[in-house]
């Protein structure tokens, strides 16, 4: 499923990244790579998504989330 389909306070594992080299470069450099665990902190319509991963609070634009495939896991 897509990252932005996750509800607040759920956890997931990144499965795949899709996009151009620039996008992939930026997303990996902030720590989101396949296999990494993320926790959704905030997911409001028309706002960037807030998530927590690798000790870091990250804010991701909604269109950026489109390129991130995740799989929900239980906490």
């Amino acid at each position: 499923m897509k990252l932005q389909e996750l509800k607040e306070n759920t956890q997931a594992v990144v499965r795949d990244l899709k996009g151009d080299a620039r996008f992939i470069g930026r997303v990996t450099s902030i720590g989101l790579t396949p296999g990494c665990r993320v926790r959704i902190i905030k997911n409001d319509k028309n706002r960037p998504l807030l998530l927590y991963s690798r000790d870091t609070m990250i804010s991701l634009g909604r269109s950026e989330c489109d390129g991130i495939e995740v799989e929900e896991v239980s906490a």
Binding site: R22, P48, L50, S59
Partner: protein
Amino acid sequence: MSTATIALLGQPNSGKSTLFNALTGLKQHVGNWPGKTVEKKEGSFAYNGMTYEVADLPGSYSMTANSDEEVITRDFIASGEADIVCILADSSQLERSLFMLADYAGISAPCFLVLNMEDVAKDQGKTINVKALEKKLGIPVMLFSATDKKAYDRFYATLERALREKSHIDVSALEKEYEKISGYSEIKDQLSETDISGYTPMWLTVKYLENDKVVSAKLKEELSGDKAASISALGEKAGGAIATGECKFNWIDKLLDGTVNKSETGVKLGKLDRIYTHRFWGKPAVVLTVILGLFASFIPALPIMGLGSLVDILKNVVQGALSTAGCPALIMGLVCDVFIQSMGYIIKMLGFVFGVTLVFGFLEEVGVMARISYVFDNTMGKLGLQGKSVMPFLVSFGCTMGGAAGTRVIDNWGQKVLTIALAWAVPCGAAWAIVPMLSTVFFGMGAPVVIAVLLLVMILHMWVTAKIFGRGLVKKEDRCGMIMELPPYHKPRWGALLRYVFGRTKDTFVRVAKVVLLVCLIFWVLSYGSGVNDTSILYRLGIAIEPVTKFFGLPWQLFIAFVASSVGKEGAVGVISALYAGGSYGEGFMAAMGGAARAANLNELLLANVTKPEALAFIFAITFNLPCVVALAATYQEIHSAKWTARIAAYYTVGALLLSCVAYHIGLLIW
């Protein structure tokens, strides 16, 4: 004395600027990288008989050539200009922030690693075994707090050691990870005889796999046709930046395994963040924060503004003294009307810049600015800007110069210029002082309608300006949406902040003073000899081109007032009242800039001489004219580009005349 050059490298929020400012103090120089729209920060310091040149490399997340910033950073390091590269990482978020180190590994320039934010990591209960990390990495590593003065002795010691050792990152473990990628070894073999100085074959291979534009193009040039074809076939199956990114993080995990023990920290949004990130209350909370900030910035500003008023008194004293001494009027004019008058004006404006830089520097420092970015990302993104740009816009309702000074929190040069270009369209405090007055005189109950229309036009103006300038300033491919760390709140460090703000205000003062003095001098020369039998250049020019300006709805008196409003909008009313009263507009202007009251019978004068359409034209002309010379100078100070400053100024002058023309002709239809 010998010198060494240090380059600072680190992801945003790693504490790079804090370290740079602490090392170099006020000995820094900000310019642009040659031919690029990227800010260049350099500085120097002396320690133990050595001079150190410090280059603060432009902010970037990785060493991949995705943006101008990253290309510049990489080229600088590869050029060998730096004797040592200081890589910064955030100890409290080691896992993520060591990415820069992993991406750097394989570049030939020697380096050392600074694990900043030691204090934060300690508070989280993290312990980091530096010795073990040093052993695994093969380079000097130190724990550090850039905000702690006492930590700097250790920093200098590590720096000296790093310069002695000139060591490189041990990449063997990392390369083992890369070797798991299919095709990696084969590509690397093909590259064995290429010679791109500054990089190892491992690093080039990884960047090639990541589709790095610059590296791929270079390799294509260097390799023979069939070799290029074979690596491109191999590269296609390898999995690109996703695969190499996984390798880098695997390496980091192994690096940290056994060297860092962390107690799991839970994450929850704090109370403040729950408000700022609230779906409904977020925006009001941000706007309120900025407005409160605007008011707060008057507190430190007022004493300085008071000082400016003292200068006005000084002017009268000097004028009196000079005239009793029988000084020629020309000299007296130059000293009093140009020099002292301008100084008073500059100092008053500077007070506001000081306040705004302080308050908004504070908000950036503690981390509120990142929340503002988050909340307004969507809205500002439509203009090609970052969410933070909302702050300079709101500040510009008070003073455009303050808005310009506030753009220093925007880390992308193009977006900074665009933000200032748009902020100029926001009517500033001086416009608010005269526009409602003029509207009430001419339109009575219709004044609120005029003001509402002005605000609508402002929004339209910003939109059009963003379209016109946006393309050149913020390239489409650079308009990547928000992928940003939301840093935890930090305690402010008043000492460093104040030092920074004072330095900044001093710089602004020097630059602004130059520009304002020059412009006031020109204005004074143009209006020299004005009076009853007017012989001034401006008067003659105004009369000569009146047939043209009439078309824009501006009789010569209003046109000259419009020209004067480019110096300062406060002056415009003084000029009209002087001109219609048959007095010297030069004196009227100077008096108005000095804060003198306008003619008592101004209303009657205006109503007797100016028609409604002309008044409407004039209101539009001065509202959307360039804000004032001080804002012009502050813009130049902030963007370091005379070309762009001139371009924006010319655009606003033309734009204001066009708007006044439209307003005039619409006015003619109505009245």
